[in-house]
Amino acid sequence: MLAGLIAISGPALAHHSFTMFDQSKTVTLRGTIKDFRWTNPHVFIELLVKNDQGNEEEWSIEMTSPEHLARDGWRPGTLKPGDKVSLNIHPLHGNAKGGEYLSGTGPNGPLLGQPPPSEGRK
């Protein structure tokens, strides 16, 4: 990914950093699209998910840039409010309701894009 932040650790510089996400965990969220925010530098899915108590919680799922997503076939209208989806994410470290998008299933089957990378060339 080009856009966004890159971590500087010592002298090194990476294209970006998603170090806030726990790359060792994959969580599947089932919920309803609240918003598909096609914004720079990154696109976000705002997803309403019911917790164990039956209360809706809003999760923010970060994707890559609109330019990158467009080359994968995504468009601003790919997801619409009210769509029922299942998303696989790397969650944020800690308890905040957020994560990094990996893959998903939408109302019409698998969402665009390919399977998540088994190893992260970011």
Binding site: A14, Q23, E62, M63, P66
Partner: protein, 284 residues
């Protein structure tokens, strides 16, 4: 018909035609290839999370990462790699990543060697422009000029490029890359090529004396190929040859640009990156 009435006009037409034919015959302009469309590096198609569908082995193989470093340079790199590996391991365990900056441009040679961007190529008789979705542009002058002289040249992130056509192959000669800021490797600040697990594997140093020669051509209707030779008389024991292939972008047929100058989505709070989703459209 009064032929004499039309004689001046006829003479003018003949003169113009003669000039045009002469100009055509004398023209040394190349017949330029049609490289229209959008291109992206093979193997660098980003996934929806911004990563790439490649393993480390694939990346190393595809990158042809074997810079012919002189021993002193290699020792320097090895030391950095080891230190960096420890730091990144700590970051993955949740340690403070140590700060952040925006990466909005790539510079050369990263644009050609390791770019997740799409780009267009616009050949014209006197210049070919390579326009990348980071809004970076490489200008390759093919009008026969030489590189600027020593007193008229300074290093930049994109260097100075001149070129010529050999049939349908564009031969590009690039010098004057700024070693202080480029990410892949140049000069004073060694910087890694990638994030992810392989980030420490792909660094090298290039000196300010580095000279690049590229041969850019279409190898079939859907692929461009760049054969690059990196000549660094200071840091390398021999020239370094790399090849990159670019494929047509299929899912979109117009140029759209990255825009990473906008809102912050990943502010650092208490030493950690966090999420700051954009406000809903109604609130913007």
């Amino acid at each position: 018909m009064n032929l004499r009435r039309y004689a001046p006009a006829a003479a003018l037409v003949i003169v113009l035609l003669t000039d045009s034919i002469a100009a055509l015959g004398a023209s040394s302009e190349p017949i330029l290839p049609d490289w229209s469309g959008q291109w992206q590096q093979v193997g660098a198609t980003p996934s929806p999370d911004g990563g790439f569908y490649e393993s480390l082995d694939q990346v190393l193989k595809e990158m042809q990462w074997s810079p012919p470093n002189k021993p002193a340079i290699q020792a320097k790199i090895d030391k950095i790699v080891m230190a960096e590996r420890k730091e990144m391991a700590a970051v993955r365990r949740g340690a403070n990543p140590g700060g952040a900056v925006r990466a909005c441009t790539f510079g050369y040679p990263a644009l050609m060697l390791d770019s997740p961007l799409m780009f267009e190529v616009l050949p014209t008789p006197r210049e070919t422009a390579l326009i990348f979705s980071s809004r970076e542009i490489r200008h390759v002058y093919t009008d026969g000029r030489a590189h600027p002289g020593k007193d008229d040249l300074w290093r930049t992130r994109w260097g100075d490029s001149i070129g010529h056509w050999e049939g349908q192959t564009l031969v590009i000669d690039t010098i004057a890359i700024d070693p202080a800021v480029d990410f892949l490797h140049l000069g004073g600040t060694p910087v890694v090529a990638f994030g992810g697990i392989e980030e420490m594997q792909l660094i090298t140093y290039l000196s300010p004396e580095t000279h690049f020669i590229e041969r850019l051509r279409m190898i079939d209707t859907n692929h461009l190929q760049d054969e690059m030779t990196v000549i660094d008389p200071v840091n390398f024991t021999k020239p370094w040859h790399l090849t990159r292939t670019y494929e047509r972008v299929q899912a979109i047929h117009r140029m759209v640009y990255e825009d990473c100058e906008g809102e912050e989505r990943n502010p650092i709070v208490n030493g950690h990156f966090t999420l700051a989703p954009p406000p809903s459209p109604a609130k913007r």
